[in-house]
């Protein structure tokens, strides 16, 4: 989700603009224009660059962060720093009569801004600690935002592959479980992709809820989820999958505009990974097992008919 700065951060945007204008007016009011040949263009380039960079950082912050204490400190700090930098830049064109307080204005705000930014960063560190706690079971030791599935917010297959490889390299045995939603394409066909995506999102929440703290849940592909269970016995893994299966079977999903609730049935499988194996072999084996189960079920259904 991106934020519209003019909507979510109106106060901060106004502050930044006000500080910029203030810098202009102060210099324009007290300064006198320099002769053209005295202007040092290299300085203009360097100092202008600092102002522009700071401005771009502020924009990035405002667009990507929700309102709150951390955002406020970071933006205010940077804005004050930028105020100093702007005065510095304008000095290249305007000579300030050696008034003491203007040079005070020019140099004093920068450290204050830095101080505020540092404070903001400290709060950000605390915030991150809380967020990391929230992300548990979604994420192992690695963070790669480009590998997150936009629909469920879980990591995608290549992340699982990577974490699994790391786990195997360390030599720890690991159990990988797979959960495949039965007849998901039928659901999509009946209720449309919007509801289908919503169902996937809800299922992923429910799977997360049923996992332990050290497990990592990924959306593997389509309607197939995989769970990485480190340091787990076969019986424990089986039990966990059984719990997830029954949780989903009892979860009454409400399709929009339809009165009757839908219950999800899933096919589960697991594989015990040993350190000699490659990550892809393990997931391949899981897929094979899942497909065999599906085919068996289809055959049984046919025999019943």
């Amino acid at each position: 989700m991106r934020f519209n700065p003019f909507y979510s951060h109106r106060f901060l945007v106004n502050t930044v603009i006000a500080l910029l204008l203030l810098a202009f007016f102060l210099s324009a009011f007290f300064g006198e224009l320099k002769a053209k040949e005295h202007i040092q263009w290299l300085d203009v380039l360097g100092e202008g660059g600092i102002v522009l960079m700071t401005l771009s950082w502020i924009t990035a912050l405002l667009v990507s962060r929700p309102a709150g204490k951390v955002t406020r400190y970071l933006v205010c700090g940077l804005a004050i720093f930028m105020f100093s930098a702007t005065l510095d830049l304008l000095d290249e064109w305007l000579i300030q009569p050696s008034q003491l307080w203007l040079s005070w204005i020019e140099s004093l705000p920068a450290p204050i801004g830095m101080l505020l930014t540092s404070l903001g960063l400290y709060y950000w560190h605390q915030e991150q600690y809380v967020l990391n706690k929230q992300l548990r079971r979604r994420e192992a030791h690695l963070r790669q935002h480009d590998k997150v599935c936009p629909i469920t917010g879980l990591y995608k297959a290549d992340y699982l592959q990577k974490v699994l490889t790391d786990q195997l390299k360390v030599g720890k045995p690991v159990i990988v479980g797979a959960i495949d939603v039965r007849d998901f394409s039928l659901f999509n066909r009946e209720f449309g992709f919007y509801e289908g995506d919503r169902l996937l999102r809800e299922i992923s929440e429910l799977i997360l809820m049923n996992c332990r703290v050290g497990d990592v849940v990924c959306r593997y592909a389509g309607d197939c989820f995989m769970i990485l269970m480190p340091a787990t016995s076969t019986a424990q893994g089986q039990e966990l999958l059984r719990q997830i299966k029954s949780a989903l079977a009892h979860c009454a999903f409400k399709v929009e505009g339809i009165k009757k609730a839908r219950f999800q049935h899933v096919t589960t499988e697991f594989v015990v990974g040993t350190p000699q194996q490659y990550a892809h072999d393990i997931t391949h084996q899981l897929q094979l097992k899942l497909q065999q189960q599906k085919q068996q079920r289809a055959q049984q259904r046919e025999q019943l008919c």
């Binding site: 599935c149 936009p150 629909i151 995608k156 297959a157 290549d158 394409s185 999509n188 066909r189 449309g192 992709f193 919007y194 995506d197 593997y220 592909a221 389509g222 197939c224 997931t283 391949h284 897929q287 094979l288 497909q291 599906k294 085919q295 289809a298 055959q299 259904r301 046919e302």
Partner: protein, 332 residues
Amino acid sequence: MNNYVSVDTKYMSSEGMITAIVELAQSRGIALHKLLRGTGIFEQDLLCFNSTFSVSQQLRLIKQFKVLMEDSDSGFLLGSQLINDTSKAAQTLLYSAHLGQALNQLNAFKMQLSPLLFNKTHLKNAQYYIYLHCGFAVEEELYNYILEVYAAAFYSLLKRLTGEYPQCEFDFNFKKPKHIHQYEQHLGLKLRFEQPCTRWTIAQSVLKKVNPNASRLRFMQVHSQLQSTAYTRYSFIEAVWCFLSRQKEAGLEQTATAFAMSSATFKRKLKHHNITFSSLVDEQKKYQAIYLLTLKAKGNEQVAKQLAFYDIPNFRRAFKRWTGLTPSQIKT
């Protein structure tokens, strides 16, 4: 011979691919104007039943869709959505008595249902082989994506018409993609990459499996409604391809005459379709050679003769150039 469709001929309705793309993109929150940008398709065209679209418009839309959807499963989603189409042509497929009949229908209405590919099928040793070829030349990345879409559609159709998970072998001529897990999830595990030809194989017995949703009456109704409308059967490239497979020794001049064009016009037309005459000849001969060598188990000499090669070494060299393999390697 003149009953073909060029890349810019506006002939198809928005049913099928175009509707599926728009629907899917909208459900993922992609704005319609963004999706249609640069495709030459306008919002009001989609609502008006009489408007027709060209293959180049469809291709541009697919390209735009691929970029905007970002996720690596978009092709597979699109493919499985294609068989939920409500057009008459698609309905004859879904009401068919069995898969065999449905595939016949698919071939008959391919310019409506899957204009971007055409196929050649063969039966051998109770296996049904479908060789796929590109009906309109596109750049490689887009072509791979299109194959992904149609492979997913084909497998969904297979599942729908048999009511189970039949085995289907998918051979692709491109190299193993990064999102291989999506292929395994949506197409099953019988996948091979970097093959000389794109070929899908199913057991012959699957063709005759009774379709659980079959309805003879509805099939006949839709079928008779379709009979009254004239349908174009070939893309321009397929038409040339078919001519070349009949006239093995035909050169540019002769082919152009058969299409009632001067060779310069003919060349220009091919160029407009992103392909050259010699590459089309090569592609056609490559397929013929593979077919004769593998399915017909012919010797090098016979194949060289049938494909109008001067001698065997010439044929071997050409074959190596097309596939990277020698004729004897492909037989094993």
